[in-house]
Amino acid sequence: MQLILASTAIIFLGGLLALAVASRPRAASVLAAVGAIAGSAVGLVPALRAVLGGTHDAIACPWGLPLGEFHVALDALSGLFLVPILVLTAVAAVYGTRYLGHDTGPRVGVSWFFYSLLTCGMIAVVVARDAVLFLLAWETMSLASFFLVAYDDRRESVRHAAWTYLVATHIGTAALIALFVLMARQHGSLDFDHWNAGGMTSALASLCFLLAVAGFGTKAGFMPLHVWLPEAHPAAPSHVSAVMSGVMIKTGIYGLLRILSLIGPPPAWWGWLLIAIGLSSGILGILFALAQHDLKRLLAYSSVENIGIIAMGLGLGVLGTAYAAPTVATLGYAAALWHVLNHALFKGLLFLGAGAVLHAAGTTRIDRLGGLARRMPRTAMAFLFGAVAVCGLPPLNGFTSEFLVFIAALNGMLSGDLLVGATTAAVIAGLAVIGGLAVACFTKACGTIFLGEPRTSEADEAHEAGGTMWATMALLMVACVVVGVASPWLIGRSLASPLAVLCPAPAGLPIDLNVASSPLTGVVLAAAAFIGIALILVLLRRRLLAGRSVTQSGTWDCGYQRPTARMQYTSSSFAQPLVDLFRGLLRPRRDAAPIVELFPTAAHLQTHVGDLFTDRLIAPAFRRVREVLSRLRWIQHGRVQWYVLYIALTLLVLLVWKLG
């Protein structure tokens, strides 16, 4: 535990030093990155020990604040979230030194300070065992990431994104405060360790659960609370997007899991609610991702989709616990936890790849790119690996966690209960749809950006990512492959202790993940064999072509002599059949000048897909609130004396009320 505190201190110190030398951006970047690496290295030791060994380690001491105490602890569940936090923040920090390398001015140093603060906040969130400490850490994390999103604050869209995020995260925090107050009143303590005493009525427990879903779901990005993600992720610098999407939104999942482990035995409808959220987030998330024209926005929606998959795993876990089906419960939770880990790796990789594209071509608008595979082959390869992982294709790591969800759902179908069977069937069908759409979505992204011809001169002049950026991407790429291939062995070793925290096994029944890892071994071996065959074919081809001359020429274009780069599939046209299929949900806006004359001159076609929930739910709700609240504007008249009067009268009335 002391090592975790030391690691937090090192990271924070790095941030402080970066702030101190803010006048020299390069030095600030290096100092913060060194702090992040050193801190992570120190912190990984106890985190891994907790995950693999299942140790529990705590420090509790009183502090000067009127409420709560300083109580931190490291158990296997905290450790499992701590590992991706430490790894990804260190990797992204190294990437960021290069990514922000061209920026000048003190804002670089300031940004690094908030980056360190964000890391420290996330560490504190997963080790805090006191409600007040947890909320402090939560707010630190949220505010630090707000300042990180607002990095490029001269752009109006960035400011708007940052405000959207700030409002969303505070709505979530409001729900969390209500949750913690309820729990503390019930148990008479702010300490998490006193909260699993039981004795909550089912209505109160359900209220707490709903508050947790709302509060933590806002951070995690459950639909329809996801509205800040597609705004904030594109606005933030890419290494920050990678951290926010890869690990910060997972703290929401962690919070939900922690509360679930404290709140007592769950009724079945909690599971159904989580599965419904998971299905809607997953399917709608990937559909909206498919319709996007901006790479980072697409990735943000894909995060919503992956959070949906995690929520499905959680839902299956809760459902299994409620129906006393330990296999389903174990596998469901295992799937959720495993996907948390995997998503951190491949989404981090994809955001870093998107950052490399932005760095090279100056834009992430898919329709202004193209042909980048030839100009930046290493980035293209890394992005391709990330895309394969996010689509859930074997043998990369994304596949293994989605496979666990499938196995959990299949076990649920075997349970014999009709309702459970129907629910799990829906999960299987939903996951299949998500998988298919994800392949379409990332085929579109990879194909339009990296293949074909460059659509603009910026894309034509793109350069390969520098050594540092490439090294970090390569590291994550290798991690995706290794974790995927080694998963049959890794799952059992790394998830057993965290699962013991979540669903304490019934007496004498050890947690058994073999039911998942043995078919997984088969799939991984088959995939390896498949890749081996492909490699052999490639070698064979090279062998056969060895003695002959190979020339390259233009594709035969039916005799047409003047093809241009605009005669390619664009992101809209590639996605158009699917977008049209789901027109009812996506509501694409189309602005086209129809061709009416025999010899048409100028024509244009523009499509835009807004966010269903932002446009239909959140924006009208906020407009309504503003209308109501604007009637109270007469209170805010700007007369200082009256403001003092308000305060004085409030205090007087409170005093009289208290004494009366």
């Binding site: 008249h637 700007g638 007369r639 200082v640 004396q641 003092v644 004085a648 009289v656 004494l659």
Partner: protein, 215 residues
């Protein structure tokens, strides 16, 4: 002993009424300075069980700062801004006095209900008088238009807090009191400068006109 303490407390309460009723800025400044001196004397007279060193220090600092330094700072601000010497009340003087009497009633009631440690009060009237001083200060801030009279109100609040602290022979009283005094000193210093700048910028120090700055 108790007689003199009671006399001082009643005098403090009466200075408050004079603060409410006076129509000239200068007399407001003088009144609040007099109040500060009275508090200093109270610190000496009210010290139960002989004079301790910290009581004398507190009294001396109180008298010097509130009786000499603050009035001097405020009079200088008054002179440099060349403003008219009337108070410009938002609530008339008669109404202010009536409200003051009402406030005394409320304060006496609150003083009788406040759960205070028994047996440490120098005088049963001290807590109501302290509260009254505090509320009059707030009232001055709310009901007077000039920024300078608002500073006077702020000083009156500070006097109220000091009086409240004097009522209890607490061990840490000296540190707390000195800390508050230092705060008040800085605040008055800054306010004096700001008032000067406001007056130079806007040609008046009417705080009511600050509403023009709202969004």
């Amino acid at each position: 002993m108790d007689f003199w303490v009671n006399c001082l407390v009643v005098l403090i309460a009466m200075t408050n009424l004079r603060l409410l009723g006076s129509s000239r800025v200068v007399s407001c400044v003088h009144t609040v300075a007099f109040q500060g001196v009275l508090l200093g004397v109270l610190a000496i007279v009210g010290a139960s069980g002989g004079l301790a060193a910290h009581g004398i220090v507190l009294a001396a600092v109180n008298i010097v700062l509130k009786g000499l330094v603050f009035p001097w700072l405020l009079m200088r601000a008054l002179r440099e801004t060349h403003l008219r010497r009337e108070v410009e009340p938002a609530i008339g003087f008669g109404a202010s006095m009536l409200l003051g009497v009402l406030l005394i009633g409320i304060c006496l009631w609150i003083g009788s209900r406040l759960p205070l440690p028994v047996g440490v009060q120098a005088s049963p009237l001290l807590v109501p008088a302290a509260l009254f001083t505090l509320m009059v200060g707030l009232f001055m801030i709310v009901a007077r238009r000039k920024a300078l009279t608002q500073v006077v109100g702020y000083l009156s609040i500070e006097n109220g807090i000091t009086a409240f602290g004097l009522g209890f022979a607490l061990k840490e009283a000296l540190l707390v009191e000195l800390g508050i005094l230092l705060d008040a000193f800085m605040a008055v210093f800054v306010m004096g400068i700001i008032i000067f700048h406001i007056s130079r910028e806007f040609d008046h120090i009417d705080a009511g006109e600050l509403s023009a700055l709202k969004d």
